[in-house]
């Protein structure tokens, strides 16, 4: 190695692999230091490094995708990491939510996790991040499965750490469904390997070209679609999500609501568009109408369930399934505008929903219950937290000047472009229902008197810091939307580029 090889150039040379390595090394480190405060410092440092590396990857991929051969083994034989515009968006999303969630995790772990388990909590959190980041950067289909299971296994453990014992059952159910999903994905990869003899995604896409209509590839497509559908909580496969979100420790809810389902959506985009090259518009398997129907029904049904739900955490969880419906709808449109809308919504919704779960988590923590009625008058008892909820809620509904407005604007534009009037109606209807369920909480919080002797007091400063940084970001993403929309447009080009 040349002596002028400085640290910076080494970092530059290994940039694609560094996010994974950072999180993976930090995970056992957090476990070994044992003291909760130290473990938290390790986790926070790792998250900040993750953000720095993601930001460094942003200009590095402007010209084209970066490829990195792990251990010097050249693709397609070795494992390739591949970072393009879409990857960078998801990496930024994960690292921003992770950094913002860390102060919150500290405050919530202090009250929710036993002191002798806190270092394990941070360790699991970092392992989960490792898996999520790994799934995002890897260009190898089997490697995706490995990272998927790393993040899933740590998520099961994290959910099981919830204070109520129902958390255990929620974790068990997610374990069963998550493993089924992961194994279905593995079957799909196996069938594709049987057809192509390769595991490298780019190589696989090329070799699949002549055999695209064979029955094996169609079966693989079906297995991969269902497997990832389970992980991303596509409407009829979402059974694990509401309980997992409601009973997990609140910092975990923030992380999995913000990142885990979004990374599964990213994988679905990657597999369907770049590897399988599914013909969304032509003959053969009618994947687009199927996804559109599931997205549409999920959007309306889960919005309605949220409207009648009286447990605030479950309400937000059902709202999450509905929002996934938006993204799936956007994907099923298979146009550049549609994909741009879907990717922007992926980003915006993660920030908005993570912020909302933080605010609600803090309220529940203060009141000791997640029942809506117990939150009566919380607007006066926790003014700063409630204000954060209101701003986040407005962003979820899609009020102008917030992130939600930008995505709904692009979604409706994409639907009108294809004259899918039913979708336009559904998107607007779901926004009105969202107004209903967010309005319901705001009404209870601000216009009902507090119960006598109800606990008063703000959330801890760390929680407020986390919450407001995400809420303000959701406003910033609405006011200065050019950056994200341009980036998402470039990502949509990456997805559609393979089929031009």
């Amino acid at each position: 190695m040349a002596p002028e090889m400085s640290l910076i150039s080494t970092v530059q040379a290994h940039l694609p692999v560094l996010p994974v390595v950072t999180a993976l090394v930090a995970a056992p480190l957090a476990m070994l230091v044992r003291r909760p405060a130290m473990a938290w410092l390790v986790a926070t440092a790792a998250a900040v490094l993750l953000l720095i590396f993601s930001l460094m990857l942003l200009p590095a991929t402007a010209a084209g995708p970066l490829s990195y051969a792990v251990g010097g083994w050249q693709p397609p034989y070795g494992i390739e990491l591949r970072v393009d515009r879409l990857t960078v968006i998801v990496l930024l999303l994960i690292s921003v939510v992770a950094v913002a969630a860390m102060p919150y995790a500290r405050a919530s772990a202090l009250v929710e996790i036993a002191e002798d388990k806190q270092h394990l909590f941070y360790s699991c959190l970092l392992l989960c991040l490792t898996g999520l980041v790994g799934m995002t950067v890897t260009g190898d289909a089997f490697n995706v499965f490995v990272f998927l299971e790393i993040s899933s296994l740590s998520t099961y453990a994290l959910i099981g750490m919830g204070r109520q014992r129902r958390a255990l059952m929620a974790a068990y159910r997610y374990l069963i469904l998550g493993t089924l999903g992961g194994t279905f994905f593995l079957i799909g990869i196996g069938l594709l390997y049987a057809m192509t003899g390769t595991l490298n995604m780019a190589d696989m896409a090329m070799r699949l070209e002549p055999v695209r209509d064979s029955r094996t590839v169609l079966a693989a497509t079906a297995f991969i679609t269902v497997g990832l559908g389970l992980k991303l909580a596509l409407f009829p496969l979402h059974a694990w999500l509401p309980n997992a979100y409601s009973y997990a420790p609140s910092a975990v809810t923030v992380l999995i609501a913000g990142c885990a389902t979004k990374v599964a959506i990213y994988l679905s985009l990657r597999m369907h568009y770049n590897v399988l090259g599914v013909d969304f518009t032509g003959e053969g398997m009618q994947l687009a109408p199927m996804l559109a129907i599931f997205g549409l029904v999920g959007l309306i049904v889960c919005s309605l369930v949220a409207l009648f739900e009286n447990n605030v955490k479950r309400l937000l969880a059902y709202s999450s399934v509905a929002q996934i419906g938006y993204i799936v709808l956007a994907i099923s449109l298979a146009s550049n505008t549609g994909l741009t809308a879907g990717i922007v919504h992926l980003l915006n919704h993660a920030v908005v929903k993570a912020g909302l779960f933080m605010a609600v988590g803090a309220m529940v923590w203060r009141c000791g219950s997640d029942d809506l009625q117990v939150l009566a008058g919380i607007g006066k008892r926790m003014p700063i937290t409630s204000a954060a909820f209101v701003v986040g809620g407005l962003a979820l509904i899609g009020v102008p000047l917030t992130a939600g407005f930008i995505t709904k604007w692009y979604l409706v534009t994409a639907a009108i472009e294809q004259q899918a009037w039913l979708l336009v109606v559904a998107i607007l209807a779901a926004s009105i229902i969202a107004l209903g369920y967010i309005g319901k909480i705001i009404e209870v919080a601000y216009f009902r008197p507090s119960p006598v002797g109800a606990p008063v007091g703000e959330a801890s400063p760390l929680m407020l810091l986390s919450m407001w940084s995400l809420v303000l970001m959701s406003v910033a993403l609405g006011v200065w939307a050019d950056g994200t929309v341009t980036l998402a447009g470039q990502a949509a080009d990456v997805l559609l580029g393979a089929r031009r």
Binding site: V146, Q164, M169, Y172, I176, T179, L180, G190, Y193, G368
Partner: protein
């Protein structure tokens, strides 16, 4: 041999999946999940078989030897490790569930009435014994 291996895989897979769905006992569910995962291991391993191929260990001085494809075996080693880890986490959760609910039957656990979390009504403060 024809498609025999695939039929066996399908049989194992459906059997495992059926156990996962039909049984309410959390331990039996884990058994079903293991059978389901094993079927996928068999699928991968049988994919690697090359007709007349021998075990993929290089034999010196026999350049024309046909070997089976070792890659699926390696992949499945990883998948087995993942499966073991999943089983471990699942069983650990089942133990914790048994401690918390005194049962590993799903219907009994779901029928268990949670003591009121608000503590505002007259529900007993001590955890009642399950009366199944």
């Amino acid at each position: 041999m024809g498609l025999l291996n695939y039929w066996l895989v399908v049989l194992l897979m459906l059997g495992g999946l059926y156990i996962v769905i039909a049984h309410g006992n959390l331990i039996k569910k884990m058994v079903g999940l293991n059978i389901f995962q094993t079927s996928v291991f068999v699928l991968f391993i049988s994919l690697g078989k090359v007709p007349n191929g021998t075990a993929p260990i290089a034999i010196k001085g026999a350049a024309d030897t046909v070997y089976s494809n070792p890659l699926p075996h390696v992949l499945i080693l990883t998948a087995i490790v993942v499966g073991v880890a999943t089983t471990a986490v699942g069983l650990a959760l089942a133990i914790r569930i048994r401690e918390a609910y005194d049962s590993v039957e799903e219907d009994e656990i779901l029928a268990w009435r949670e003591p009121d979390a608000t503590g505002s009504d007259t529900s007993p403060t001590t955890t009642p014994e399950p009366n199944f």
